[in-house]
Amino acid sequence: MEQVPIVKIGQTLFVSIQVELEDQSVLRLQEDLADELATSGARGVIIDITAVEIVDSFIGRMLTMIGSISRLFDAETVIVGMRPAVAITLTELGLSLKGVRTALNAEKGLEILNGRP
């Protein structure tokens, strides 16, 4: 099982998913993020999926859940770097990832978290 590292910079937690995750790792990430949010008081989460080639319903659900969890801690989550092929597939699957913001890259993701349009 892979443990995805969570990096805290200022008020934001950064997660970059670089490898193919199987279900246990996905669940582990969710738990770790919940822990970090609770203890660090971070106001924002950026999950970078630039390197992710496949987002199926399981991972999609995880991303939405992380969004909900972060809101419980008064933080906002932004998913960045989704690949076009992945976006098209998710749309076909009927997953809109409601409840999480999205952005093209981490920089734009930070702009969203910092309140700029």
């Binding site: 076009p84 976006a87 809109s96 890259n105 349009p117």
Partner: protein
């Protein structure tokens, strides 16, 4: 196995009269194709087919039949590409019968052999027609795809604002292409606003609306906001009467209106330039 020996006899007859038959066959084919191919090439192609046919008839090896089918398919595809009709290609095959018949016409004892060859050639000729259709269909679908590509431009209206003017019907194939190009352009330009203009889309029914919604949904996953522009009065009425909901997607009558909205959302404003009276 009477059939086999009949065929084997035909095979050896064909082998014995190789040059004569191929020569006559080539003549007939070149005449049929009315000078649009070189006699050299034709003779070469026919010689290849001939030896494959002989191998199949003699029952010598198992691969011959497959190779013969492949060679015929390739011939059909080539003729289709060069603009020959399926009849012309089929006649090419059928003229082998004529060439052989001219030689055996007087030999009564070769009737069963000839009949067997005739049946085989009939099948081969029909096969070329099927292969031809398949080849034409492939060409048509390739061209359709090319046309689709050409009619789906994505343009940059301003920093961070791109537009996709759609012209023509929006079916699922088109939608796929639009989504791909739109998303790729979003990534390439770093845009965060896309205007999808449907002025050129003749009818907007439930299916088209679903395609539009899918496109917007996909763009949003890349963090872009979308506006649909070019809603003509009739289209607006159709949309409402069909009960189509665009939800939280902004819609505008004109591309200009959509651009203004996008600029506003980007925190930009267009103001007149005041020329200073004093030039120095």
């Amino acid at each position: 196995m009477e059939a086999d020996t009949t065929q084997a006899r035909m095979a050896s007859y064909l082998r014995d009269h190789h040059d004569k038959v191929i020569g006559r066959w080539s003549e007939l084919v070149v005449a049929g194709l009315r000078g649009r191919t070189s006699a050299e090439e034709v003779r070469h192609e026919l010689a290849d087919l001939y030896s494959l046919i002989v191998r199949v008839l003699s029952g010598a090896d198992d691969h011959a039949a497959g190779e013969l089918r492949a060679a015929l398919d390739e011939l059909s595809r080539a003729r289709a590409r060069d603009g020959f009709t399926p009849t012309e290609t089929a006649l090419e095959v059928f003229s082998l019968k004529e060439a052989v018949y001219e030689l055996v016409a007087d030999a009564a004892d070769l009737v069963p052999e000839f009949l067997s060859l005739s049946h085989m050639i009939d099948d081969l000729g029909l096969r070329t027609i099927e292969a031809y259709s398949a080849a034409r269909e492939q060409i048509i679908s390739d061209q359709a795809l090319a046309m689709l590509e050409l009619s789906t431009p994505v343009v940059r209206l301003w920093d961070g604002i791109i537009a996709v003017p759609l012209v023509g019907t929006l079916d699922s194939a088109r939608t796929q292409l639009v989504m791909e190009k739109l998303l790729e352009t979003l990534v390439a330009t770093g845009a965060d606003h896309a205007v999808i203009d449907i002025t050129g889309v003749p009818t907007v029914d439930t299916e088209v609306a679903q395609h539009l919604l899918k496109t917007v949904s996909a763009a949003r996953l890349l963090g872009a906001e979308c506006t649909i522009s070019g809603i003509r009065p009739q289209v607006a009425q159709t949309i409402v009467s069909l009960g189509i909901e665009f939800g939280d997607i902004a819609t505008k009558a004109t591309l200009a209106g959509a651009l203004a909205l996008a600029l506003q959302q980007a925190g930009l404003k267009v103001v007149p330039v005041l020329w200073s009276r004093c030039r120095s």
